[in-house]
Symmetry: C2
Subunit: 273 residues, 2 copies
């Protein structure tokens, strides 16, 4: 591993959604450098098998290690669900997924012990949130629901559209009937639908955004290991972005999400790693 | 090339949609053997760059040639739009995309010379239908519209759902206003929405299904080159299916589309080709 506190954090995702996680790291750990990788040539991960996601993730970890990162954040929920355990065994670089921190906060917030999880087909099918939540509190009941239309609706830009409201109403109906009081937004795109989801669930339901919770967990981990960056040097390029396809398109989406002007995105051939 | 008439036809797609093309080949060329490849690990192709689609397609052509195919059908509209010209130059195996046959029929059917094309972002952006259509009839006007929500709606199974009808109404509004009299269903999933699209466009608009037209063009090409299969031997496995991810899921979808029981699907590592 690279124990240099000045080394960057590696953050990876199937594509652009992980930028919501990168954004929380920028906000909450402003001294840290970031190397971001989005697997835009092979996205989405949500409907693919564990074996394939694990293979893709291993390639990306090899690329990030080549970039000398000191820690890795798996920003994609599906990759976190399918690959974090194996990746952690295989590498000496500290590695954090987005599932655990979200689950911890949900377990702390729920009163009636009914927790909902929405995400991709892969994430929901893995039931990984449930296994974390049950360890924290064996009495909780977890309701999972895959919402495969949410990502294309967000990417179409229909965030507050009546079509999106109707789709969300259907996807969330069971959660409402089961009276969950806490709902984990288990896919990086979903925080962008926060107000639509919040209106349907009602103000008494807590929405958990794992991106924010993961940034806090990352800060704690870096401090504990003594590899947090102390200096706050103004740099020209503290954040570097890499993708496997279509750098321009990524860049324009990045600029709509990040409080920061993404000037340069480099395309790499991830299949070579 | 392999000039043995008994050799199989190679058919490839980004995933499952190309099975609608395979189905038309089975119906209209019942003596032919087929080797189908679906790139389920890297789907969809519709929102990715020409460069990436070309790289993926080259890998698949190498795989299909290893399978000794006598001809290749690029069943994916996006790959047909981005890769057919280059692939044709690089290989001596006769190769057919799905764009040309659909365009030819559309040009023959239109009366008012206003033709609509719906497809993925990549297909529509490429304006390839327009370039074929203009060669056939310089007087036609072509209206293109990307419909990125159609594929996830089909895969969710909401074929006749009010949400799908509303989404389709919006996507098709401009086509109706421009009074196109012919509409090319430029994505392999769209024939499954035929009745919804037909209801919105009205009975005076001709819907062109490139899958059917491509099967007829394939038959003509094989006969012209003298490599059509004459015998009609009953075989146990005339059709073989390969995918890059999740063979089981592919198989169940295949069984819902094909008039044939798909018993065995093999997963291969396409990145090695």
């Amino acid at each position: 591993m690279n124990a240099d506190p000045n080394a960057p954090i590696g953050v990876f995702d199937s594509g652009i959604g992980g930028l919501t996680v990168a954004r929380e790291i920028m906000r909450n750990l402003p001294s840290e450098r970031i190397v971001y990788f989005g697997d835009t040539a092979r996205l989405p991960y949500g409907n693919k098998s564990k074996e394939t996601i694990l293979r893709f993730s291993r390639q990306i970890v090899r690329f990030l290690k080549e970039q000398q990162v000191k820690a890795i954040v798996v920003a994609c929920n599906t990759a976190s669900a399918f690959a974090v355990d194996e990746l952690r065994e295989e590498t000496d670089t500290p590695l954090l997924g987005v599932i655990e921190a979200g689950a911890r906060v949900a377990a702390a917030r729920t009163v009636n012990r009914k927790i909902g999880v929405i995400g991709t087909e892969g994430t929901v099918r893995s039931r990984i949130h449930e296994s974390f939540l049950k360890k924290l509190d064996p009495e909780v009941t977890v309701y999972g629901k895959a919402c495969p239309l949410f990502v294309p609706l967000v990417e179409e830009g229909w965030l507050h559209d009546p079509v999106t409201v109707e789709v969300a109403r259907r996807y969330l109906q069971e959660m409402k009937e089961e009276q969950v009081d806490t709902l984990i937004l288990g896919c990086t795109h979903y925080p962008l639908l926060r107000s639509t989801i919040g209106n349907i669930m009602g103000e008494n339901v807590t929405l958990v955004n794992p991106a924010y919770e993961t940034a806090l967990a990352l800060r704690a981990m870096l401090e504990e290991q003594g590899i947090n960056r102390q200096e706050n040097v103004q740099e020209e390029f503290p954040y570097r972005f890499f993708v496997s396809d279509l750098a321009e398109k990524f860049q324009s989406f990045a600029n709509s999400i990040l409080p920061y002007d993404v000037k340069m995105t480099r395309k790499i051939d991830i299949e070579r790693y």
